[in-house]
Amino acid sequence: MSTLLSQSAAVIKMNIQSLPRRLWMSLAMVFASAVVVAILLAFLAMSKGFEATMESAGSDNVAFFIRTGSAAELNSSAGRDQVNLIENSPGIKRDEQGPMVSPELYVIVDGIKKSTQQEANLPLRGLDQRGVNMRKGFTLVAGRMFNPGTDELIVGAGVVSQFDGFELGQEIRFGKNTWKVVGVFSTGGNVFESELWADAKVIQNLYNRGSSYQSVRAVMESPDSLGAINEYLKSEPRLTHEAQAESSYFAEQGKSLSYMAIFGWVISSIMALGALAGALNTMYTSVSDRAMEIATLRAIGFSSFSAFIGTMAEAMTLAVVGSLVGSLAAFIFFDGLSTSTLGGSFTQVVFSFSLTPELFTKGISMALVIGFISGFFPAWRAARVPVIVAFQSGR
């Protein structure tokens, strides 16, 4: 056993040291696996970043009411009388001002995206201080809160970074109305940072919404209160709404970019096949390049197993180096890259690519598969070619 190990170690060392002789072929294999890993990671990081932006926005303890069948906030509606009914629902927490309920409006306005200089949809949310307090992690990073009853608004940090003209102190025109940016807020990077917030009553007035709202948020006594709330909604014929935990609503919305991850897997798997063909070429060349060496070693008593291991180790080394290069490139170019896309309510969601350790593992695993397959068959040949044939072909 120990001879086997020391033989293998010696052969591995020889293989690695002979790599510079096949420099370009070896680099081609490293490059091919690096590209496969980088492409896979880019798509996964995109999907992951979007998911994180959505999921971190939702709270388990907040019930989110939208009209049944409306799927997204934009399509929902709730009249003032319906909001009053929701306030009477059991399971909702109360404080000195009454039930902790936030009726909100959600309208679409246009902003100029910095990256394309094209107009894109932004959500303008109408709410009051109660609603603001329900957002976990809310902080004003600049300026102050809007004053109720005025045409002041506060802007999410994501909007400021991706769109033109939303800096503190700017005036913005939407249609006939002019708004003044009095504050910039952060909610820890989640989807609310892609929004503009203003007083709900002002928006009702400017957008001819009367006294109606679109969605309602309410703080629950505990996450278990949801059952009681939904029972109440069903028993009240004047309500056409359903309640879900805010966290599950956003988790559902976060899946809308999962097609990017699927696309990434499909594309990188197909590319991996191409890279594999290149890697097999490299490894077969390596075996024929060292045919003389392998034959000599086997003639002086090295086992065929050590020849096998030597080639396998070479392939795995090249693939792993490739995956590290690819991961590093993906990390440098994509991690934290901020971009925006259309979310569930037809509005832009600003999010950052996020490369988690878990994703790196996936990338490296893919490279290891390439390394293993591309090493196995040539290694098999190295181990099995009769010594005499190897001597002849090596000459």
């Binding site: 370009w24 799927a71 399509n75 679409i108 094209q118 191409g274 290149g278 077969y284």
Partner: protein, 385 residues
């Protein structure tokens, strides 16, 4: 002819290498064909837009309605040929995730503004007469397996019926096709009048206006006139060409074009390196033979050509299989993806591009080894061997 025999022998001397290299090229062109088709499908809305068609919507956003009276006001303006209007119905079939893009329109004027939509005259007549009828696009019909005469309940995620509930029953009266395979038919049309009378919110409002100008040269002038006319009203408008409107919508999803270009470029570059290396290696192994050929009197330029032809043959061998494979995949995926994507078509333009890239790949991978073969000195080659 003799040269071709030699090239053939050179190509096939190592069967495993030939297979692996061809396979790598096959993969590159498979990705190229599939991705370019996807890109052209996503951009078909831009490509297929008529150059004299304008879209008028509310200045704040397309979700804000416009008053119905705007239709006649715009119709009376100079340079305007036909005007029609549409309302977003927000339709889905049974499950909210199973979206059916449905618009409430005025049948006659809508089809005159969109002449690329083709309906059998008999079906069109039935639909025009039938208030609760629906005209569905071919792609939707395929995706859902709907046929003429089917009763389909469509729910709206925005509107409610006056009588309660959010589901309307429609009869499929006809199926429209495009006069070009690239025209998207992934939506359905219902009667605006019926929709407006039955929905609970009431109010004669429309989602947006679509109009054609008498001459594309007037586009700018007409857009300006419309927007100025409604300036300072309660519903200010924003008019853009159909092309700009569709492009802005695609751009909202993000820079798809750049991502796709990036993937194709990287795939190509990788394959280029893999194949280029293999070619260099293959020629280096043949140093001796090339020296023999030169000794026998083969001109250097003839050998140079032979090497290039060999690398080009390799590129076309893998490339043609690859683009063929992409064609088969696209054919297979077109029906599966009908629910989500516009018509997937691998057309002559993409095939032509692929041929050019095959030639480029063949020349680039062959040029370095061909030059070294050209310059090969017989004496040093023999002494090295």
């Amino acid at each position: 002819m003799k040269d071709f025999y030699l090239i053939y022998k050179n190509l096939t001397r190592k069967k495993m290498r030939l297979f692996l290299t061809t396979f790598a090229i096959f993969i590159a062109f498979l990705i190229f064909g599939a991705i370019m088709t996807l890109r052209s499908a996503l951009n078909s809305g831009i490509e297929m837009s008529a150059d004299n068609r304008l879209v008028v919507m509310h200045k704040i956003s397309f979700t804000n309605p416009l008053p119905y009276a705007y239709v006649n006001k715009v119709k009376a303006m100079d340079g305007v040929k036909d005007v029609t209007h549409a309302n977003w119905f927000g339709g889905y079939f049974q499950e909210p995730t199973n979206q059916v893009v449905t618009m409430a329109v005025d049948p006659e004027s809508y089809l005159s503004v969109y002449p690329e939509l083709v309906v059998e005259p008999e079906q069109l007549e039935n639909w025009t007469k039938d208030q609760s009828g629906i005209l569905i696009g071919e792609r939707i019909a395929k995706a859902n397996n709907w046929q003429i005469g089917d009763r389909i309940p469509l729910s709206s995620n925005i509107f409610s019926q006056k009588t309660g509930g959010q589901t309307w029953d429609f009869t499929v009266d006809g199926i429209f096709k495009g006069n070009d395979a690239k025209v998207d038919t992934g939506y359905a049309l219902i009667h605006y009048k019926y929709f407006n009378e039955t929905q609970a919110w009431g109010g004669d409002s429309i989602g947006w206006l679509i109009l054609t100008t008498t001459d594309p040269a007037l586009n700018e002038q007409v857009s300006k006139a419309i927007d100025e006319n409604f300036a300072n009203s309660n519903s200010e408008t924003k008019t853009s060409t159909e092309q700009a409107f569709n492009k802005a919508f695609i751009d909202q999803i993000g820079n798809i074009g750049l991502i796709i270009f990036g993937v194709v470029f990287m795939a190509f570059f990788t394959i280029l390196i893999v194949v280029g290396n293999t070619m260099v290696l293959a020629i280096r192994e043949r140093t001796n033979e090339i020296a023999v050929l030169k000794t026998l009197g083969f001109e250097s330029s003839r050998i140079f050509k032979m090497v290039l032809v060999e690398s080009c043959l390799l590129a076309f061998l893998g490339g043609l299989f690859g683009i063929g494979g992409a064609y088969l995949i696209v054919q297979g995926a077109a029906k599966e993806m009908a629910r989500f994507l516009p018509n997937l078509i691998l057309d002559e333009a993409i095939f032509g591009q692929a041929l050019i890239y095959m030639l480029v790949l063949g020349l680039i991978t062959g040029i370095a080894p061909a030059i070294s073969a050209l310059r090969l000195n017989i004496v040093t080659a023999f002494s090295r061997g």
